[in-house]
């Protein structure tokens, strides 16, 4: 069973190497990439089964025992994250291949796209299975370096401009993370997460507070938590649709995962839970207000993305098993649904020619399938029962009500309002783009859109193109996956709860890594 753990990282990395060699033959390269990610997906399924049945798996790389060597730790939380990421990465890859087959590779140099994509996948997996803070840092750097390349693909002016903002901000967060690792090493003399957790309570409270705040800022930038989220709506929408989709779905969640891991395992005392709740509140409200003001669907989705990070931070701030379990379920839901929405927007861009809701109209007639593929995840994100968005939010609200502090109730209210406003923004987009007829669009005195900000970079009319079957199928598969979150909500919530029990309180984690006697 232990061999499964390093394979999660090894398969994508080896796949990237082979994909690089076969760069001249696009078809062979695509095949290699799909095989690599499919194998990873199978591996992730086996891993989750093994971990859920037999408990946390710890692999000591090079045979050095845990506190000295580098440990790879897969508990239920990591296994769940790896599984969902692998599924999403595979679906987006198939979507990209469909797009590449239809358009040729004039806009995106495919020969480097696939290897970079696999390297990014490896980085994401390293971050999820790292049992050691420095390894987590390395995982972040792998995925960030690959994401810099993907974001600036083609080197057009808009992408370079967006890329520079993204890279400088990411670099700053990485440096902060590195500096906090240095300070943690100075304080407790180790970088192994379990051992840090064991020794952290001996550190003076003020030093603990400095370390905790520095880690939160570093991860908060990556997770796009208000007020550290300003970079996200500027940089994501300029990238190609599938790249935006996978960034929006996965990369911010790696930051959320890091916050979840450090807050529950290293700092179980909840010293900052009040602050985190307020941050969650502001993230929720300000993000969704931004979304309501946007006319461009991609930008609007970027704002809903950072708004919904607030729900996960809320669950983490609660710190109870119920809260963390709901946050884990919500992370899974959000990775899948947000990616699906961006993929569907990519389809909208192809049939409508642009993504501004002021200009789109009558798409339902053009393509009913895309209409449905956009509609279902939109309802889902807006929290309409019986979709997973509703289940996740309900879980969070119940956990909040159990805690019962005034702040928790304020957050529940804010969460409900955010959910409604998300629904408003998404349904408005759907109505304008799909439901209204083209004649209505010409008469643009509509009161719904007159206050909308038109993003200058966003409205570029591209030629309308046909939608390849492969792209539609990949999006449909993602929609089905999001529906599966409802059908299998019971088992999924149960495993989320077990995952939360693994991390909350840190004892289980420490015992699994270091052994019970230490």
């Amino acid at each position: 069973m232990n061999a499964l753990v390093p394979l999660v990282v090894l398969i994508p990395l080896l796949g990237a190497a082979v994909a690089l060699i076969t760069g001249r033959r696009p078809r062979a390269q695509a095949t290699v990439t799909v095989i690599a990610l499919s194998a990873t997906l199978v591996d992730a399924v086996l891993l989750l089964g093994a971990v859920d049945a037999g408990g946390t798996i710890v692999v000591e790389v090079g045979g050095w025992a845990a506190p000295w060597g580098i440990a790879l730790v897969v508990d239920r939380l990591s296994a769940l994250m790896v599984l969902v990421s692998a599924a999403v990465l595979l679906a987006v890859l198939v979507y990209t291949i469909g797009q590449g087959l239809a358009d040729g590779d004039d806009e995106t140099p495919v020969s480097i796209y696939n290897p970079t994509y696999l390297v990014m996948a490896a980085g994401v997996f390293v971050a999820f299975i790292a049992g050691d803070l420095f390894n987590l840092y390395v995982g972040f750097e792998i995925l960030l370096a690959a994401s810099y390349v993907l974001l600036t693909l083609g080197g057009t002016r808009a992408r370079i401009r967006a890329g520079i903002t993204y890279i400088v901000v990411s670099l700053l967060s990485s440096l902060l993370f590195l500096a906090s690792i240095a300070m943690i090493y100075g304080a407790v003399g180790t970088v192994n997460i379990a051992q840090i957790a064991q020794r952290m309570h001996q550190v003076p409270p003020d030093v603990q507070m400095i370390i905790q705040v520095m880690l939160l800022i570093a991860f908060g930038i990556k997770a796009a938590v208000f007020p550290l989220s300003f970079w996200l709506p500027d940089s994501y929408p300029t990238a190609p649709a599938p790249v935006t989709a996978v960034f929006a779905g996965l990369l911010t969640k790696v930051g959320v995962y890091a916050i979840l891991r450090t807050e529950t395992v290293i700092f179980p005392d909840d010293a900052l839970s009040g602050v985190l709740m307020i941050v969650a509140l502001l993230t929720l409200v300000i993000g969704v207000l931004g979304a309501v003001a946007q006319a461009d669907i991609k930008r609007m989705l970027s704002f809903t993305l950072l708004s919904h990070i607030g729900y996960m931070i809320f669950g983490i701030a609660l710190g109870t098993v119920a809260g963390v379990a709901a946050a884990i379920y919500y992370i899974i839901h959000h990775i899948i649904v947000q990616t699906t929405l961006f993929l569907a927007t990519g389809l909208v861009e192809r049939i409508g020619g642009n993504t501004s809701i002021n200009r789109l109209a009558g798409l339902l007639k053009l393509s009913p399938v895309v209409g449905v593929l956009f509609f279902i995840p939109a309802l889902n994100l807006g929290g309409i029962p019986p979709f997973s968005g509703f289940i996740g939010k309900l879980g969070l609200f119940i956990a909040g009500a159990e805690l019962g502090t005034p702040l928790a109730y304020i957050l529940i209210a804010a969460g409900a309002v955010t959910s409604l406003l998300t629904l408003y923004a998404l349904m408005r987009a759907w109505n304008m783009a799909f439901w209204r007829s083209s004649d209505e669009a010409k008469d643009d005195s509509s009161s719904v859109t007159e206050h909308l900000a038109e993003a200058p970079g966003g409205v570029q009319t591209i030629t309308k193109r046909s939608v390849p079957k492969l792209m539609t199928r990949a999006t449909a598969a993602m929609v089905l996956l999001s529906l599966a979150l409802t059908f299998f909500a019971g088992p999924l919530f149960a495993i989320s709860t077990r995952a939360a029990q693994d991390v909350v309180g840190s004892d289980a984690y420490v015992h699994a890594v270091l052994g019970k006697d230490k």
Binding site: Y148, V168, L171, I181, Y185, A453
Partner: protein
């Protein structure tokens, strides 16, 4: 744990200079700022290694107490390699940016300009041209939104 004061002073100066440079508009200075910050962080890691001892090579007669802690050296080596790679990428990006725009500066955010221009447009419609907002304002020339244009018209500008 004792630390070398010289190292701490060097680190502090490098952090200060790095942050100053990072806040500049010129891309090349941002890169230099990033390099300074990266190296300051490496020095921080080395400071955290604690007491300075002999080279960490296990041999006859060396005890754990007298050798220097080798782990921070390994950490900073990794960090140096990562910083080096990212700097190379950033340099390529700066070159590309210069190639496209012929200037070595962070460009204005288009959204910000749009917000600035929109308010000027609203001001033009609403205010009395004789003593209202300066109607000669030409958004084509003033691409940078000044502090004034970001206020709502009619508010206390």
């Amino acid at each position: 744990m004792s630390a070398s004061l010289i190292l701490i002073v060097i680190m502090a100066v490098m952090y200060a200079c790095g942050i100053f440079m990072l806040l500049e508009r010129s891309m090349t200075r941002v890169l230099i700022g990033f390099l300074l910050l990266g190296n300051a962080t490496n020095i921080l890691i080395l400071i955290m290694a604690g007491d300075i001892g002999i080279a960490p090579i296990v041999g006859e007669g060396t005890t754990a107490e007298e050798i220097h802690d080798p782990l921070p050296q390994a950490l900073s080596l990794t960090a140096i390699v990562i910083t080096f790679g990212i700097s190379a990428f950033l340099l390529a990006l700066i070159y590309r940016s210069w190639y496209l725009g012929r200037k070595d500066e962070v460009e204005d955010d288009e959204e910000d300009i749009a917000v600035g221009e929109r308010d000027v447009a609203v001001a033009d419609e609403e205010s009395d041209p004789e003593y209202g907002v300066d109607t000669d304002f030409d958004p084509e020339i003033h691409v940078e939104p000044s502090a004034d244009t970001l206020h709502r018209p009619g508010g206390s500008v």
